[in-house]
Symmetry: C3
Subunit: 246 residues, 3 copies
């Protein structure tokens, strides 16, 4: 565990210097918080979906986030274009299967993303249950809840017990956290380490924000502030991480 946390802390600390750009095909509700979280962490963001420019912007991005919330026809069309743009490239691809259990449209898009090797998928327990079906071994599965779980092919499950209930009381906190994980995936080939770094940063910042927040209204901005000033030593000191044999 200590080595994993060390690696996560180092990845987090290297983010501002590397300043990866995450291309986010994400829902309109989550766009402002997602952009501000990435900027606060030292990453960069682009959000274009138009057919005439999405391929170029994805090809030059350091990571690709695909979020299935509030789909419109243009974003639906952009998903395969974006996947084609990174085909044959090592660009990390991260999927947030928002409400995938509700619609065939989202399931089909999720399957399209999952047909790529080595995707990282972050969702809640219901969303993850709707997606799993025999291809678990090829991807990294990050299931968030009271205790977060990171499952990597053939390795022990990582659990993170940090966080705060206010994270579930504010829209887009989960979506933004997935984008942060995508930024970290650009810095290390080990998706488990990237997921751990993103979860620890988001959850420990949430604990600090919640301690000062009046409620869900001011929580989000305090969370961004806490991420902006979160250093590796703070993560080291507060991380509650365990390993469960596979």
């Amino acid at each position: 565990v200590a080595a994993l946390v060390d690696a996560a802390v180092q990845t987090w600390a290297s983010l501002p210097a590397r300043a990866p750009r995450v291309h986010c095909l994400t829902n309109t509700v989550a766009q402002p918080l997602t952009a501000n979280l990435l900027l606060a962490a030292g990453a960069r963001v682009s959000l274009a979906t138009h057919a005439a420019e999405v391929a170029d912007m994805v090809r030059t991005a350091d990571a690709l986030l695909i979020n299935l919330g509030t789909l419109d026809a243009e974003r639906v069309a952009a998903v395969p274009v974006a996947l084609d743009a990174v085909a044959g490239h090592r660009t990390p691809v991260v999927l947030d299967p928002v409400f995938v259990e509700f619609s065939a449209l989202r399931r089909d898009l999720a399957q399209r993303v999952q047909s790529r090797e080595g995707v990282l998928i972050r969702g809640n327990a219901r969303e993850m249950a709707a997606l799993r079906s025999g291809c678990e071994g090829r991807h990294t599965w990050v299931t968030t809840g009271a205790i977060d779980r990171v499952e990597r092919p053939g390795q022990p499950v990582i659990t993170v017990s940090n966080g705060h209930p206010l994270m579930g009381a504010v829209t887009a906190v989960g979506c933004a956290t997935t984008a942060l994980i995508a930024a970290l995936c650009a810095l290390t080939d080990d998706h488990g380490v990237a997921a751990l770094a993103g979860l620890l940063a988001a959850c420990i910042a949430a604990e600090r924000a919640a301690a000062r927040a009046d409620g869900p209204g001011d929580f989000a901005m305090r969370w961004i502030d806490a991420v902006a000033r979160l250093d590796g030593a703070t993560i080291q000191a507060h991380a509650r991480v365990a390993l469960i044999p596979d």
Copy 2:
């Protein structure tokens, strides 16, 4: 009046336990505040507009909100699909006719919504004037301003004198309030009581938020915080409600 306020307070108090899901066909500017207000009040939210999934999501929702702000072709197309999905069902339908006085597109969509029986319509005085034309008696009309008015078929007009001018100085506060009323309509067949509960909650929370706010910038988050901690006793103690014979 006392019985009405009692009923409104009870409806408000039952919201977290019932956790109704409001499907919001609403404008992109209002989406974040609307989602966060609903979550703060204990309701749930879905926002899909895509033709392939909107009918399913509306059919399983507890209330339907239709907001005419910043229309795009996809949301325009979603409105009749959503109305068809609730045809023959008792799902409450709530209309927010943003800027309806400005465009024939919005007037036509509003008329389509108004052709359903028993819709609740929430707008400002200009928007309401643009909509009324002989069908007043079938719907519940909620006109917000310095004094809010709730007009129900054949019953005395309810007025609410709570609130604060900052509510009109921040984008989407009115839109989000309409969504809150939609959530409450899922809990009682009496749209007047639901409207009263939503107006009292939004306006009394606004009074408390404004007392602490520096201005329009921090008002919205303080409003969300105040809604999250608003209990029935506080509403009872602060409600300024009157009845005007029809």
Copy 3:
């Protein structure tokens, strides 16, 4: 310089009484902050993009903002419609060429806007470099950065040294500032004065907001609050403006 600052202060002070409406064809990420900044300054905002209503809303607006961020097909189509709606009218047109260096789609749209006489263009150094090509003399160019520059046809360059690094750490602050400049362009024919007024208001408010902010999370709301209470005397007292011969 003193006369320029005086004119800018007077323009700023007249904003609430005139309450110009800016029609903003702007990206979804920037919409909430843009709307709230305009409201805080005393202006009004409309955001429609649908083909059936955009021309009417633009024709009756006091200024037109065209922002190239997160384009979708509907907004791409709305740009020429909006430009046609103001052809032959004196409605000020302001362009924010977000990420124009990244895509041909954005360059083409920008050129379409630039074919109008006397547009005000506000961008960062990279965006401006991608746009300039022989037609500098016809437009007002506002390049923002550590020091902002306002370049008007045949006149000395105005520089503004106010501002704070947090302005670049939060999404949509630049986009919203451009919208504020558009509102001020509705109040004076001198685009240089309007740009100066908008830059001074945005930058001096940012200095005051940053002095109280914990980080990028709460900066945006404190910035809105600071704009809402910014008076002419404060701008006069804090303005750091210089002229550079052309």
